[in-house]
């Protein structure tokens, strides 16, 4: 069953919202426990999420 364009857009936006809401807490956890690589990965995803909003909204 293929989803309509509107539904796909809604689901992607919802995913971005969830990611942007969760990542700061994960980043804080990683940095406070000296998980440097995890911290860098999370920071990168956080920034990429914002870049997605600039490019595709």
């Amino acid at each position: 069953m293929s989803l309509s364009k509107e539904t796909k857009k809604f689901r992607i936006n919802m995913l971005v919202l969830v990611i942007e809401a969760l990542l700061p807490f994960l980043l804080l956890f990683a940095l406070r426990n000296d998980y440097t690589i995890l911290g860098r990965i999370i920071s990168a995803i956080l920034v990429l999420g914002i870049i997605y909003l600039v490019v595709f909204k």
Partner: protein, 524 residues
């Protein structure tokens, strides 16, 4: 942190990004806010000693701040979707002409007074979410509907939501509220006339302004007087609801005059007629909102009982690479059971039961209501999270402080009072709320006023007024407003139409503050 022109300009860059992208390039608030977030992050990391740990803490604080607003927005959108599904928005738009067939009076009633009253009751987003769709249903364009309702309730943010923004100002500036309140009442009262004139001008042109001017004057005087009386007696938690009700009563009385009753052929609603009982049922969501809101806010034992549960998070001290210190602090105390968002959700639930019982909703309605709400709220929620993120990044590396210090230290004592409302406006534009602008700039304004030997309560009242009127034009609030009239993503267009008119009441307050301060200093 050294204050240089370069640092000041860099601090201003995220705000400039939002303004330029929205006004010149007509970007939506979410997209412009996201770009501003990237600019703020880059500037903080490169020039202001920011770090990923500071980013993490600032974003966590932003999320807590945004969560408080999002509950309200989701509640307001749910209420709007329910009313829309039940046909209540259309029904109310048919009812308004019954009060008066006069177009100017209808406009003033909805875009100025009803929005102000709802702002006092529901806070963030509710006023425009409810009233803009009514104006659209009455035949106004969606952009005009948002501009008129937004400007109409700009003053009402100040003492809405139990005057939380005013309480924040008192707390951060350490100046008694009784000293600030009379100045605030006069400054807001001075903005009433221009607000009424702008709404009428936008909706009915200069001819309408000439026709409605006596009504605008009468409403401004009665609202101004009631605001002053409430404020000097310390009842500022009622200083939005009280004057709004007085204004509504004044206008309804004026509709009995032949000049404002209008002519029959002014009704153009397709000849649909409503029975009084149907109308009352359609008004149920709003009547319940008022009743529950009043009960929670004003019945002290109930309020105390609901406030027993509170949530507050503790944040540690944060120091930037350049030594800017954000002291250890607690998040604002959240009372989940007396929160306006909870009031909205309870209102929706009870209204649904009443409307379903009356046959205005069917078994497929909940699905449509929830679908409309969720589709509308996602982009708005993202926008608010992003804009709150920009604000907290700037605050934690000293960019906001640099901005305010630059203004305070370069402008002389004669000009400074007239600049204060615009500083408050910028703070509210950036953070989305009157409250946050007061928290950001309240202490600084008090300190600057004392250094310049100005009247501190007057300066704080001007900060509060500018922040209140600026907050309604902020991208975060525009996102919510635009969603309700189907203009999602077109916030830039709306802001472009609104900014010129929205600055008029703020300019009136700025000029009045400048003159008043000059007179208080003996004209020196």
């Amino acid at each position: 942190m050294e204050l240089t022109f370069g640092n000041w300009l860099l601090s201003f860059l995220p705000i400039l990004t939002v303004i330029v992208l929205m006004l010149l390039f007509k970007w939506g608030a979410l997209r412009a806010g996201a770009m501003s977030w990237l600019v703020a992050l880059a500037v903080s990391l490169i020039f202001f000693g920011g770090s990923w740990l500071i980013l993490a803490w600032s974003q966590v604080k932003a999320l807590v701040l945004a969560a408080n607003l999002l509950v309200l927005i989701w509640g307001a959108l749910l209420l709007y979707s329910l009313a829309n599904e039940a046909g209540s928005i259309r029904a109310i738009s048919l009812f308004i002409p019954r009060l008066s067939n006069d177009r100017s009076i209808q406009l003033l009633l909805i875009a100025w007074l009803l929005t102000s009253f709802l702002q006092g009751m529901g806070g963030f987003g509710v006023a425009v979410a409810v009233c803009a769709p009514i104006l659209v249903a009455m035949g106004y364009s969606p952009i005009l509907a948002i501009v008129m309702t937004t400007i109409g309730h700009g003053w009402a943010v100040s003492f809405g939501g139990m005057a939380s923004a005013f309480e924040s100002l008192i707390a951060v500036a350490h100046v008694p509220g009784m000293l600030i309140a009379p100045y605030a009442a006069v400054l807001f009262a001075l903005s009433f006339m221009p607000t009424g004139v702008i709404i009428t001008l936008l909706g009915t042109g200069w001819k309408g302004v000439r026709h409605a001017f006596p009504a605008i004057l009468a409403v401004s005087l009665t609202m101004g007087a009631s605001l002053y009386v409430l404020n000097i007696n310390g009842f500022w938690s009622l200083s939005t609801i009280g004057p709004s009700l007085v204004g509504i009563a004044t206008l309804v009385l004026l509709t009995r005059l032949p000049g404002y009753h209008g002519t029959k052929d002014a009704i153009s609603n397709g000849g649909q007629e409503l029975q009084t009982r149907d109308l009352l049922v359609h008004l149920t969501p709003y009547i319940l909102l008022v009743v529950i809101g009043f009960a929670v806010a004003l019945i002290r034992p109930l309020n105390a009982f609901l406030n027993r549960v509170s949530i507050s998070l503790a944040y540690p001290e944060i120091v930037s690479g350049l030594g800017f210190v954000t002291p250890a602090e607690s998040s604002p105390i959240l009372h989940p059971f007396s929160h306006p968002g909870t009031v909205l959700f309870v209102t929706v639930l009870l209204s649904y039961l009443v409307l379903k019982r009356e046959g205005m909703l069917n078994h497929t309605s909940p699905r449509r209501i929830l679908s409309l709400t969720s589709h509308n709220s996602v982009d708005g929620s993202l926008g608010i999270v992003v804009m709150a993120g920009v604000s907290t990044i700037m605050t934690h590396v000293g960019m906001t402080s640099t901005l305010a210090r630059g203004i305070a230290e370069t402008i002389n004592a004669v000009i400074y009072p007239a600049v204060v409302p615009f500083v408050g406006m910028i703070g509210a534009f950036l953070t989305g709320t009157n409250n946050n602008s007061n928290i950001l700039f309240g202490a600084l304004q008090a300190e600057a006023a004392a250094l310049l030997k100005l009247n501190v309560p007057l300066i704080l009242a001007a900060q509060h007024a500018g922040a209140s009127m600026g907050s309604v034009m902020s991208p975060t609030k525009l996102i919510v407003s635009c969603i309700t009239v189907g203009l999602g993503g077109q916030e830039g267009k709306v802001l472009r139409k609104m900014i010129g008119y929205g600055l008029i009441p703020i300019s009136v307050v700025a000029i009045a503050t400048g003159i008043w301060s000059w007179l208080l200093s003996g004209g020196a």
